[in-house]
């Protein structure tokens, strides 16, 4: 029995999904995770290192790895790539100046072989801020249409501040992963 089938079996039993949250600093990764878990989001310090949250979502257990986005610690992202089922890339839609940085880091990430099977959800966060780019505009800037055809991806607008759009995004992600891993469902 190959390793992959063992993992599939374990995961099937536990209905577990491993989700990696990444994006530039100040994009709102931690706020999204806490908001979706119904926790207080009014006091969140920039993430030094990473947080892990286990959330029961529908009938699945999500292990969400929320990794700090500061430049100094971005090189450690790759330590979290193994076994990732879903990748959530968070964009600060109001940070017009760093969209190039954002695109570059995302492009680098998607070259990563260990993430090649992961479903990709792009959150165009901070839609509550006036002047923020819309998800369609973000998709154009990031040139998402040019992505590898085998990748399952979706872009969704959201506001971690109000909570709007978060569930829709995660619904898609979880369904997409489930349809790949748990074919029988």
């Amino acid at each position: 029995m190959g390793l992959l089938s063992i993992i599939r079996k374990i995961k099937k039993k536990e209905k577990e999904m491993r989700i990696l949250m990444v994006g530039l600093d100040n994009s709102g990764k931690t706020t999204i995770v806490l908001k979706i878990n119904g926790e207080d989001t009014s006091v969140i310090s920039p993430t030094l290192g990473f947080n892990i949250k286990t959330i029961t979502y529908q009938k699945y257990t999500l292990n969400i790895w929320d990794v700090g986005g500061q430049r100094t610690i971005r090189s450690y992202w790759r330590n979290y790539f193994e076994q990732t089922d879903g990748l959530v890339w968070v964009v600060d839609s109001s940070d017009l100046r760093r969209l190039d940085d954002c695109k570059m880091e995302l492009d680098n990430l998607l070259k990563e072989e260990r993430l090649s099977g992961a479903s990709l959800l792009i959150f165009a966060n901070k839609q509550d801020i006036k002047g923020a780019l819309t998800p369609t505009e973000i998709a154009k800037v990031l040139n998402l249409e040019a992505m590898d055809k085998t990748r399952h991806w979706k872009i969704a607008g959201c506001s971690a501040y109000t909570g709007e759009g978060l569930l829709e995004g995660f619904d898609w992600l979880v369904q997409d992963i489930a349809s790949r891993i748990y074919m029988l469902d």
Partner: protein
């Protein structure tokens, strides 16, 4: 009495059994998840192998005097990093963190060695974005703001000014995010609440701002004074600047030095209501809890300090300025 004892005993027995079951389950989980049967799959084996490599690399760094050996050492560190990454799924998070810390220390000492052996490299430290060199970049030319494949509108803000006093009142405005960039010797007064504030490339400026409901992001500032209140603040590439802050979370600095911190001291008519709206009406004391991402150690970072009380400006009342 006896009954109670008996009950307790059975309960204890049950508890014991449960613990055994749990530990057995944990064990089988660990075993089934083994990526390969090599000796690296248990924590202790991992640690011993990790420590061996670490010692050998450290020894190499210590004894090296020949610049041509640097790439070898760098490769060895990368291998070690890869080794940790491969095992990260199995390791307790403390081990992951401490291993990563060790690796970053090794990288730091290699960097120090490199700058000793190849003095020319010192120049790259002065560049504004030194850490970028770690990441393999497809486009080595730094891209100016306007060359994105898709035209992006500018956010509202103050840009490219010298020796001016700039005032913006957000009250009743539709502005969500505001940018202040490329200013030299200016004084900026922002009144009212705004959602997000971006500050870039400022020299010798004084920035006074009412509460920011979301976050402040700052890059490349020097010889400035900031009086700011916000939920989050991130300070990058700052030099010789003073920050008078009120923040709900811990302020962070990265690639900065000579920065000093004190508590928020801004006054203008109606600031109390603005602070209350932004939920910043209470002093949190967080202005002194600075995290330095370039100094992940328990001892105080040399890059920042508390501004001595006698050097603080005292209350700044925007009505009295100029």
């Amino acid at each position: 009495m006896e009954d109670e004892d008996n009950e307790e005993q059975t309960l204890q027995k049950k508890h014991q059994l449960m613990l055994e079951r749990l530990s057995a389950r944990h064990q089988t989980r660990l075993e089934t998840r083994k990526p390969d049967p090599s000796d690296s799959s248990t924590t202790s084996a991992f640690l011993s192998r990790f420590n061996d490599s670490k010692k050998s690399i450290a020894a190499k760094i210590e004894s090296s005097t020949d610049p041509s050996r640097l790439p070898d050492i760098s490769a060895a560190i990368s291998d070690l990093e890869k080794f940790v990454a491969e095992n990260s799924y199995l390791l307790p998070s403390y081990e992951i963190r401490s291993s990563l810390k060790t690796i970053s220390d090794l990288k730091q000492s290699l960097e120090n060695l490199t700058s000793q052996l190849i003095p020319k490299k010192k120049f790259s430290f002065k560049k504004s974005k030194p850490t970028k060199t770690q990441i393999p970049q497809p486009d080595t030319v730094s891209v100016p703001e306007k060359t994105t494949s898709y035209p992006i509108r500018d956010s509202p803000g103050f840009r490219h000014k010298q020796n001016q006093v700039l005032v913006q009142n957000f009250k009743g405005s539709e502005i969500g995010e505001f940018t202040i960039s490329d200013l030299d010797s200016c004084e900026v007064k922002l009144i009212g609440c705004v959602n997000a504030l971006f500050l870039n490339r400022l020299k010798n400026c004084k920035i006074y701002a009412g509460p920011v409901v979301g976050s402040i992001l700052m890059e490349e500032v020097e010889d400035c004074v900031f009086v700011l209140a916000s939920h989050q603040i991130r300070i990058h590439f700052a030099k010789r600047s003073d920050f008078y802050l009120r923040v709900r979370s811990r302020p962070i600095i990265e690639d900065s030095d000579g920065v000093r911190f004190a508590n928020y001291c801004l006054k203008y008519e109606g600031i109390e209501e603005d602070l209350a709206v932004a939920r910043l009406d209470e002093e949190t004391g967080n202005w002194a809890n600075v995290d330095d991402f370039k100094w992940l150690r328990a001892v105080q970072s040399p890059n920042w300090s508390i501004l001595p009380a006698e050097e603080r400006v005292g209350d700044v009342d925007l009505a009295n300025l100029r």
